[in-house]
Symmetry: C2
DNA sequence: ATAATTGTAACTACAATGGTTACAGGTGAT
DNA sequence: ATCACCTGTAACCATTGTAGTTACAATTAT
């Protein structure tokens, strides 16, 4: 299965928070842009808040970036909204037969390869900052 | 969510086919090593056969590698067992609001980044051949 | 012929996801 | 102080992908 669209939604939210930093960013407003339910937005913002990417205030609140967009990279965002812990992008099959040469060693062998592939992907995400996303976003609109 | 364990199972199967190339590799035998149900094995083998990685024969059959393990890389295997088409490792959120600057351009912008990250991962997979997996497997067992 | 095995369909259980309603509690404006 | 507004969260639902299981027709070697 593919990686949850929460990631895409999270980036959308952060970009919007940056672009609309003067306005009041309620979950309903953001939901209007993302085109989903406000609760979905609040859930994602909750995750982003937990890792210190955004500030939110209960009550008549709205969210805002907790850090300059130049200092936020997509890997952080990815990690924030991802359920699976790091190193588990690829699922292993459990309990292969220890009496078999393959069963006995496959997990360790795959672990190395899987970690390498996952890291390569994450490295690309780490290269991209929110700043760049917003820049591209604005440029694409011209 | 993580990538289906079908991928890990597929590699397990292929490694076993190589190591046990003299024996008769029935779905039941393989299932014993993977520790799952024979039907699960047949399903995965079916996918591998469809892309020409293994040969299977109905009836009293058993499977075998269709190519030398040196010429099989993990990206092919990944593609064979993956449901999602290439380029969709990351899910986009659908129908963002076109009236919003962000909503209007987010998909195109993310697409670039997502494809880059996905490619980086696949490149790592492409680097690894079944040959190397088997080598590591045997080495780890000493 | 017979026994073994594949390929597939059908069903089940389970987990993640995203959407939705509901509501208690916080906050700012007046 | 009240009030309208908003957040945070729980609860529930429908959908989907996955993996395991049983069952069986079709196929093949012996």
């Amino acid at each position: 299965m593919s990686i949850s669209s929460r990631f895409a939604v999270a980036i959308h939210i952060l970009a919007l928070l940056d672009i609309n930093k003067e306005g009041r960013n309620t979950s309903e407003f953001i939901a209007g842009s993302v085109n989903t339910n406000p609760v979905v937005i609040r859930r994602v913002i909750g995750l982003l808040g937990k890792v210190g990417l955004v500030h939110t205030s209960p009550g008549v609140g709205g969210a805002s970036l907790a850090r300059p967009p130049r200092e936020i990279n997509l890997l952080e965002v990815y990690r924030a909204v991802q359920n699976d812990p790091p190193g588990e992008l690829f699922a292993a099959h459990d309990k292969p037969n220890p009496k078999c040469l393959v069963g006995r060693n496959i997990q360790e062998t795959l672990d190395t390869v899987f970690k390498r592939a996952e890291s390569a992907m994450e490295k690309e995400l780490a290269k991209v900052t929110l700043d760049q996303i917003v820049f591209d976003l604005v440029r694409a609109d011209r």
